[in-house]
Amino acid sequence: SQQGEEDPQALSIQEGENATMNCSYKTSINNLQWYRQNSGRGLVHLILIRSNEREKHSGRLRVTLDTSKKSSSLLITASRAADTASYFCATDREETSGSRLTFGEGTQLTVNP
């Protein structure tokens, strides 16, 4: 069953703008990860944030985690047309530690040139 819920389901922006995607989850986690998927391809890992971390940066990506609200956000700054893809959050839940990631339903991001 899906643990995470992303919003929005779809987001369309202009090149150069920032894109923010949100993820909520239900149970206690060890870490939360964000993945990207281009159409017809597999998922690519972007960033991992542990349950004791609040914010993490990687290049143009910024991830926040609020365990009290069971939510995370992914910010992509200065977006590019090549950022067009689906973005998924995935949780490594304490109860199933390491044996699986539980994915949300994803946000479809379109960056218009």
Partner: protein, 113 residues
Amino acid sequence: GAGVSQTPSNKVTEKGKYVELRCDPISGHTALYWYRQSLGQGPEFLIYFQGTGAADDSGLPNDRFFAVRPEGSVSTLKIQRTERGDSAVYLCASSFIRNSPLHFGNGTRLTVT
């Protein structure tokens, strides 16, 4: 190869037939996962291998689904008596150790007619 390889990339089969989907993980990765992804959804966990053994097969939907990893490297997902509802993209992922980020293949698109 450098990444996770899945074959075939596409498989069309008739209802009731048997299919095998193959996954070649990244060399040296001890953990291997199978996921299933329906259109517009996030990946859904099926099974996790640590080495040769299935450490968690709780995501397999029913006993028509079975997976093996006899030598701790290549894995095969086997589906008996296929049904139209089995149509989906089957994704394989591997990781160096449990709890580390997943590396996905491009998937096998299974269509049951």
